[in-house]
């Protein structure tokens, strides 16, 4: 069996796209609205459903992470000792006695029958009683057995080292140690200590590979004591291991089920050791289980696998132990599996615009679970009826039966607070689901509900549905404000949302809910001003300069809302964001460099270094620093001049070409239309991962409105060629053709992006980037402008051009 698992694991790696990156959480990918903590047996917590780990709350028995609430470890063994010593010894001192003390220290006490000379932690008078001394003798023996029982490094498998392999026991060693145990057992009167000695002997035999002896010790030493406490089950687990080694899987399975049921701290180990792989063994194992609860535990051991059909095991458990917490456990696992399947957190680009998301197969399964639970609730077999009603109400919620769900949830009157909280959550989610439109009453109800302190998951769920409904009823502002501040619009300026937001903010009276929506995300002191800027920029981005100007004229010239962000990491790797004033503040501080150019564009240079060309200085209306209104006015003016003839028109075309090139994805000002304060954090625009030109319909605006590509590199290309065409000055012509050739390269990249770019060029092969077939303007430069001074500058500063001349491809 193990070999299958390994093989599957190694092959499955090939196809597992969701393999957890360090930041990815499958558990956080869906809305879990049903609380698994409602399960009545808290020792089952590790068996709650989780997709991120092997066991809920931590990585479980292999001890990878031990920092969660689960591992505020209760040491049940120490608690047994505490009981044994009539609560006279503290947990701390017991820890020393059991795990840290040296055999010599204990022998000293025993030989002197006095605590004289013993360390403070061992100075307990109860150790000198008869049972105390028997305990000390036992502990000396247990410490003798320890080297044979500690798991080896080698078998733990996840270590590269082989330093401390568990001591392998020889037969004579085993015989000798076992003999000491036998004598001690015979000489000990206290039954609890006898049981502990017997446990050591069973374990010693099991770990030594003497399986017959392990089973014999259990039968002759453990069973006759008729003590069914924790240590008995520890011993039973060891016997199960021996049976397993003898391939008696059915017997081992029944014993593991018993240990699983009766111990709070050995459940994970039982699950890890349990292995039944055929029906005959399973049936035999069920028959060997002594109680209904143990049988139910066996069904859990089989059905715990995330892939299982929980309903099937629920039916099995219900038939024999309807009030078992195992039934609640399997029910919760089944429900969460369906939540995982249907309450996936919608993403901006989600194709599916219906929610809950569930295919026909999933829906059919849900019907079956509902039918089973309805019958269970109707029957009088279960005592914890409130739990099951809350469960059923939640199933109806998943099934989209909102009224039914709410009715049942509202009727629950439990004295368990957690059940009441769950019922209220289910009821409210059902109410939200039932809303066809979000009207004033609905908003009021939501507002009231949120004045209570509610679960974050529920809140996110409600806002997702709410935002979706607002989109359906075309209340775009409200839909947008459920998840965003204005920056959610920056990469894709959606005019419907902007218009709706302007109306929304202009409204003089706003309901409490609307005010809360604003408060949730918007911190701006001039929201309307920012919206006017966004609207102006929407038109600017479309190159509708006249409309842009209308809106920019409404903007306060002092408006400033963009800051440069820097990420700072402290010694612990904790990230914090530092905000600094940037050059471009969202509306103003735009340098005239936006109309300039140079042979090479270096994004990390300052403006003076990045731009050397001063052609724009021919136009007095271009100020050295502008706001968007002044920039648009300058562009309008330039466009008028560009229509003319002669060198002035050529210069206007050239400067326009620079503006459109600089604001393209490959330009120094590529951040301009995306509301980034600098050009640094925009890799998504110039790498080859394509951002869409048109967005798909969204479920809601959670995560913003997406990114729309604004790369129109043909525009500057055309302006530069017009400049060449209209210019008389050869230097200007050369400049214009060279800048056009940069656009030519970018057009080539664009083309590559639309095909398989691997065929276009690669990091090993730059040739296509300077071959004459792809760079006809290089040829033009060489043929017509080789006598210009600018041509020589290009030759020294542009490598592609150098290669073009050198290799003549």
């Amino acid at each position: 069996m193990k070999k299958y698992i390994l093989f599957i694991a190694s092959i499955a790696f090939l196809f597992n796209n969701t393999t957890a990156c360090s930041w990815y959480s499958e558990d956080a990918s869906y809305y879990n609205l049903f609380n698994q903590n409602l399960i009545s047996d808290k020792t089952l917590t590790p068996f709650f459903l989780t997709y991120d780990e092997s066991f809920y709350g931590d990585a479980g028995f292999d001890g990878e992470t031990n920092e969660t609430e689960l591992n505020e470890d209760i040491d049940y063994n120490i608690l047994e000792w505490k009981k044994f010593f009539d609560n006279q010894v503290s947990v701390k001192d017991l820890n020393y006695l059991v795990y840290q003390s040296k055999p010599e220290e204990l022998r000293n006490i025993l030989s002197k029958k006095s605590l004289q000379g013993a360390s403070l932690t061992l100075s307990k008078s109860i150790y000198l009683t008869e049972k105390g001394m028997e305990a000390l003798r036992y502990l000396i023996f247990a410490k003798e057995c320890e080297p044979f029982a500690v798991a080896s490094e080698e078998s733990s498998d996840d270590s590269w080292y082989y330093g401390s392999i568990r001591k392998k026991m020889t037969k004579p060693e085993f015989m000798s140690t076992a003999k000491d145990g036998n004598i001690l057992y015979a000489n000990t009167k206290n039954a609890d200590i006898k049981l502990r000695i017997a446990y050591q002997l069973v374990r010693l035999s099991h770990y030594g590979g003497f399986n017959d002896d392990a089973i014999r010790y259990f039968k002759t030493y453990v069973e006759p004591l008729k003590l069914k406490n924790l240590i008995y089950y520890y011993a039973l687990e060891q016997k199960a291991g021996a049976l397993f080694n003898q391939k008696k899987y059915a017997e081992a399975g029944a014993n593991y089920a018993s240990v699983f049921h009766h111990t709070p701290d050995r459940k994970l180990q039982c699950y890890a050791s349990f292995r039944i792989s055929n029906q005959m063994d399973f049936d035999k194992s069920i028959a060997l289980c002594k109680t209904s609860d143990e049988k139910a535990a066996l069904y859990v051991l089989r059905g715990f696998n995330k892939f299982s059909n929980g309903l099937s095991e629920m039916k099995n458990i219900y038939a024999i132990a309807p009030n078992s917490a195992y039934l609640e456990l399997m029910a919760c696992r089944t429900l969460l599996q369906m939540e995982h399947n249907s309450f996936e957190i919608p993403s901006t680009y989600n194709d599916n615009t219906t929610f809950p998301l569930m295919d026909a197969k999933g829906k059919l399964f849900l019907q079956k679970v509902i039918l089973f639970t309805e019958n269970l609730v109707k029957s009088n077999k279960v005592k914890r009826i409130d739990f099951w009603q809350a469960y059923l109400a939640h199933l109806y919620l998943l099934n989209g039966q909102y009224i039914k769900s709410k009715n049942i949830a509202d009727k629950i009157n439990s004295n368990e607070t957690q059940i009441m909280t769950q019922a209220q959550r289910t009821s409210f989610c059902a109410y939200i689901g039932s809303l066809k439109t979000i009207d004033k009453t609905a908003e009021e109800n939501i507002f009231k509900h949120y004045t209570k302190n509610i679960d974050e998951n529920e809140q996110n769920f409600v806002y997702d549905i709410l935002a979706h409904n607002y989109i359906l009823q075309k209340d775009y502002a409200q839909a947008f404000l459920c998840h965003n501040d204005f920056s959610g619009l920056y990469s894709s300026l959606n005019i419907n949302i902007i218009n709706s937001l302007i109306d929304f903010f202009k409204k003089e009276t706003k309901s409490a809910f609307e005010q809360q929506l604003i408060k949730k995300h918007i911190t701006s002191k001039q929201p309307l001003q920012e919206l006017y800027d966004l609207k102006g920029t929407y038109y600017f981005k479309k190159d509708d300069l006249v409309s842009a100007l209308v809106w920019y004229k409404k903007v306060d010239s002092k408006l400033s809302f963009l800051k440069i962000h820097e990420y700072n990491y402290d010694d612990n790797g904790q990230e914090s964001i530092i905000e600094k004033d940037g050059t471009f503040n969202g509306y103003s501080n735009i340098s005239a460099g936006i109309f300039s150019c140079s042979i090479q564009t270096y994004f990390d240079q300052n403006l003076q270094q990045a731009f050397t060309d001063k052609t724009y200085k021919n136009f007095s209306f271009i100020k050295e620093t502008m706001n968007k209104q002044e920039l648009v006015e300058a562009l309008i003016e330039l466009k008028k001049l560009a229509n003319g003839t002669g060198d002035n028109a050529a210069k206007a075309n050239f400067v326009l070409g620079n503006f459109y090139y600089n604001t393209s994805n490959w330009g120094y000002y590529r951040n301009f239309f995306y509301y980034e304060p600098g050009n640094y954090y925009l890799s998504y625009l110039y790498t080859y991962s394509k951002s869409p030109v048109v967005l798909k319909p969204t479920y809601n605006y959670n995560g913003g409105t997406g990114t729309i590509n604004n790369n129109k590199i043909k525009q500057p290309y055309d302006y530069f060629l017009l400049a060449e065409n209209k210019a008389n000055d050869m230097e200007l012509k050369a400049k214009a053709v060279f800048q056009a050739s940069k656009c030519e390269l970018d057009l080539y990249f664009d083309k590559c992006e639309n095909s398989n770019y691997a065929n276009c060029w690669s990091y090993d092969n730059y040739k296509p980037l300077y071959s004459s077939s792809n760079r006809p303007l290089f040829k033009k430069l060489k043929d017509r402008y080789s006598k210009t001074a600018y041509y020589n500058e290009i030759k020294s500063n542009c490598n592609y051009f150098k290669y073009y001349l050198k290799f003549k491809l």
Binding site: F7, A9, T19
Partner: protein
């Protein structure tokens, strides 16, 4: 003139009867023990090399650790044993660059610890199996270089997947002595479509259009494994190994929906895995005919540039479905 004709004839003759390929096997189970039945295949096919998966390497808590180390129950006297280590791509995504050298030496040390238990022959080659990608190539290649540096006398080989042949510009060419083309896994089995995801010869052919210019010596691994892709009640999928249509003929347990697709009628154990009512199963396996076509397609492209075929994998439950004759190379 006559001499030239004779020469041409001899060349044609040599070309038409291509050299027979050597045969090797992968051994990918967790317990190393060769059954008599498996030994019979090894003997009959004159197998000289066994590529044995020694352990996997994966990331746990940010550290690269060995996982699923092989349990060696016997020493092999006949074949050259080549240790194979499967490293998850995630390992190279997460592992800091500065720990790559340490990983290479950890792997080397663990192999030298295990190897004497499996063979008395001198260790000649180590093979690394990793589905590296463009984002991990730098670290992975650095790792391979380190491994070579630390084992200069050994041949270092690595598996090459089909997409790495096709997209070589992005994924790069690993710095190794020799590669093994994994001529399988042509699509994602979890897609649950009609196509055979283990090997669809038409799809595979598309991947190797330009293989003749791949700048590494290559051997070829062919699949003889089978599996079932099982879909549960909420559409999640799992793989169960060594399942073929013949395993699903009991009509009280399975209803056939269409070729290779079944629905489970009653919960039961299928090769040790408990599967429930309403689960859907798709079986995938590779026929001897598929293997033959695959070999022909590869031969057309690689001509005589490859030396051996490695079957994945040596296991009686796979072998029983192929005769020795069918596994002999063309």
């Amino acid at each position: 003139m006559r001499k030239i004709w004779v020469l041409i004839f001899v060349c044609l003759l040599l070309n038409s009867c291509q050299q027979k390929k050597n045969i090797a096997f992968y051994f990918w189970e967790s317990n190393f023990q060769i059954s008599d039945f498996e030994q019979h295949y090894l003997d009959s096919l004159a197998v000289q090399q066994l590529y044995v998966r020694f352990f996997d390497v994966d990331i746990k808590n940010g550290k690269a650790v060995p996982v699923g180390t092989i349990q060696i129950h016997e020493k092999n006297k006949y074949q050259q044993i080549i240790p194979v280590v499967f490293i998850t791509n995630e390992t190279f995504k997460v592992l800091p660059q500065k720990e790559v050298t340490q990983l290479a030496s950890n792997i080397q040390r663990k192999i030298s610890f295990l190897y004497p238990n499996i063979s008395d022959k001198t260790l000649q080659e180590i093979q690394i199996d990793c589905d590296w990608t463009e984002s991990t190539k730098e670290k992975y290649f650095h790792f391979l270089n380190e491994l070579k540096q630390q084992n200069k006398t050994l041949q270092i080989s690595a598996t090459i997947r089909l997409h790495q042949i096709r997209d070589r510009i992005q994924t790069g060419i690993p710095p190794i002595d020799k590669g093994v083309l994994m001529y399988y896994a042509t699509s994602n089995p979890l897609d649950f479509k009609d196509k055979n995801s283990i090997l669809d010869n038409a799809v595979a052919q598309n991947y190797i259009k330009n293989i003749d210019s791949y700048p590494l010596k290559l051997d070829v691994a062919l699949p003889i494994y089978s599996w079932a892709i099982v879909e549960n009640q909420v559409g999640e999928k799992r793989l169960i190994n060594n399942i073929r249509n013949e395993d699903l003929i009991d009509t009280s347990l399975y209803q056939k929906l269409k070729p290779n697709f079944y629905v489970v009628k009653k919960a039961h154990y299928l090769k040790g895995n408990y599967i429930y009512e309403d689960f859907t199963i798709k079986t995938e396996s590779i026929s001897a005919q598929d293997l033959k076509i695959a070999q022909e397609n590869i031969a057309k492209k690689l001509k005589n540039k490859w030396e051996k075929i490695l079957y994945f994998q040596l296991d009686s439950s796979n072998l029983v479905h192929y005769s020795v004759q069918q596994l002999k190379t063309n």
